[in-house]
Symmetry: C2
Subunit: 370 residues, 2 copies
Amino acid sequence: MDVPLFKERISRLRERLREKGVDCIWIVQPENRRYLSGFRATDLQLTESSGSLLINEHDSLLLTDSRYTEEASREAVGFAVKTIQNGIVKGLAGLLPDLGTRRLGFEKDYVTWGIHQELEKTLGELSPPVELVPLDGIVEEMREVKDADEIAALQASADLLSAVMGEIIDFLEPGLTERAVAWKVEELAREGGAEDLAFPSIVASGPNSALPHAVPTDRRLEQGDAVVLDLGVKLNGYCSDMTRTVFLGTPSPVLKKIYRTVREAQAAAIREIRPGLETTFVDGIARNFIKKAGFGDHFGHGLGHGVGLATHEGPRLGPRKPAVLKEGMVVTVEPGIYLPGEGGVRLEEMVLLTAGGARILTRDSHFYDW
Amino acid sequence: MDVPLFKERISRLRERLREKGVDCIWIVQPENRRYLSGFRATDLQLTESSGSLLINEHDSLLLTDSRYTEEASREAVGFAVKTIQNGIVKGLAGLLPDLGTRRLGFEKDYVTWGIHQELEKTLGELSPPVELVPLDGIVEEMREVKDADEIAALQASADLLSAVMGEIIDFLEPGLTERAVAWKVEELAREGGAEDLAFPSIVASGPNSALPHAVPTDRRLEQGDAVVLDLGVKLNGYCSDMTRTVFLGTPSPVLKKIYRTVREAQAAAIREIRPGLETTFVDGIARNFIKKAGFGDHFGHGLGHGVGLATHEGPRLGPRKPAVLKEGMVVTVEPGIYLPGEGGVRLEEMVLLTAGGARILTRDSHFYDW
């Protein structure tokens, strides 16, 4: 475990806490927890947390219960592990006075109303009382720009995914069900060392390929089908995400046309994307291309999203909410065209924003040159 | 899909809403959503919901976005599917006035502080305004008692798990890593038709068997090891959960002793458990047995928990918080003794509470008769 790396993250976080005027932050979101501490456990259910962090100017504590004490002590870098007995509310109430906390920041989109309610009451009765301050995406924002270790981890995850994609494309044949293909993906990913899939695989064939978010069904692949394969693996905590559209036999002229359009729209966006541009501008490059080709009504989602410890993180590349792209961000570029009843095409790469432009992290050459 | 079943659930829910004095409820928790509607989608992340329900005295609506409209329309029984465009807060604000809602119940342990904050503001500005009322476990409580369809689904899930358990025990041999065994479990479960594991498998060998919540490692199984296998599968949405402890070769005398103790403690609890008893009383049967045998300090978790659409649900069987057991509940009975450094033993069955007592749903005869 790279100790200086975690120290540097904590010190950047402390700067943000000073800016926000809180003297301590309570972190419950699992990827934020891992990013700051190195503690790898996942949460079984929303209501079954494996731990949380308390970080102020001088201290870094990891609060967990006895099931996770040993793992946390082994994995968390520079954190004092505290085993709590009677739930998180009493645990916090016991620790915060010793830390001298007066204003405690919390993650407003991850703490439930119920826990907040209990905490507000209990912490308000302390003397001096502790005030709860909602914070919005502080750690998520830090996570948007990847450091060298994260880039290496994302490249390794993308390499494994690229290998799985190549194997699965060779494996496709008429008669297989979508579910059988999805299961093969999982098998290949796990045999390749992935601890998990990054998300449930999309294997969408024939008419199902027109559904951007299709769930694998018992439909059998047929000659002439478009098959959208949107796959992701998780390796050492880092996610990857990639899409290919494959045809079994020769597709119809309209499917050929949308394939060409999507591929050229994607190439144009990847050619242009670089630090300093706005997300909405890059989205617009692909969107306008697709619009000019006459399929503007059939590209209903954003162009891409950040990838890291989570499959979907900031920045989002869409037609709304402009944000400036920075060096070190890793984002997907994934235009698609979906014709209901007929079929759809999506192509997706993961790219790293470098000083001069972008480097594609996913590698696979199953393309058609119509 | 069994339509009367879902109608009956909704009508029981409506009764509870009247008791609670709310005229509409907003359901976001994924298992509650499935229980009431039949909509099977899962949520990719806490912040990426696949849908929610609005239920009042006359209407049942399923709110989702365009990615899930088709699946929701196919699966949700008796619900009108509404596709929302600009997020859930605007979606609710648009629908609630037409429903005549004045007091909207929400799940206090699943709605985040951030969403509640936005909703409170937006709904308070409607005319007439809509008041938000926190509700605690209404649907979770309904889910504790299983109906005939659920019992059949849980038996099917337990049957598949029992088969996987038998195969994996035969597969064990010195030299295999814990991770390789865990992966084999997943393979067998998926080949057997499971859509997923119910939870990450615990395969804890040698000294690791003393950690109740061990994560599979690269440790290789050795002759003389205790191996705790705590496994679960998910079949048609329903979870199962079962534990065996297996020895490679002849265990040490102390491991034999704790094995006998755990097995007898479990048998005593299963013999006694029946509707009408308190959860704490049943926990006490096993706990006192283990205490008398001299291992009272080494059984650090509760005796069991309900199982259904979630692996861990009500009722909890532990030394605190008494609740009365009812016919139709399905719970685990899983005492354990853990000796740090030496090894541990846990045995777990899923049982259905019947009028006269309990029926064991898990079936596997890999026991030792020392």
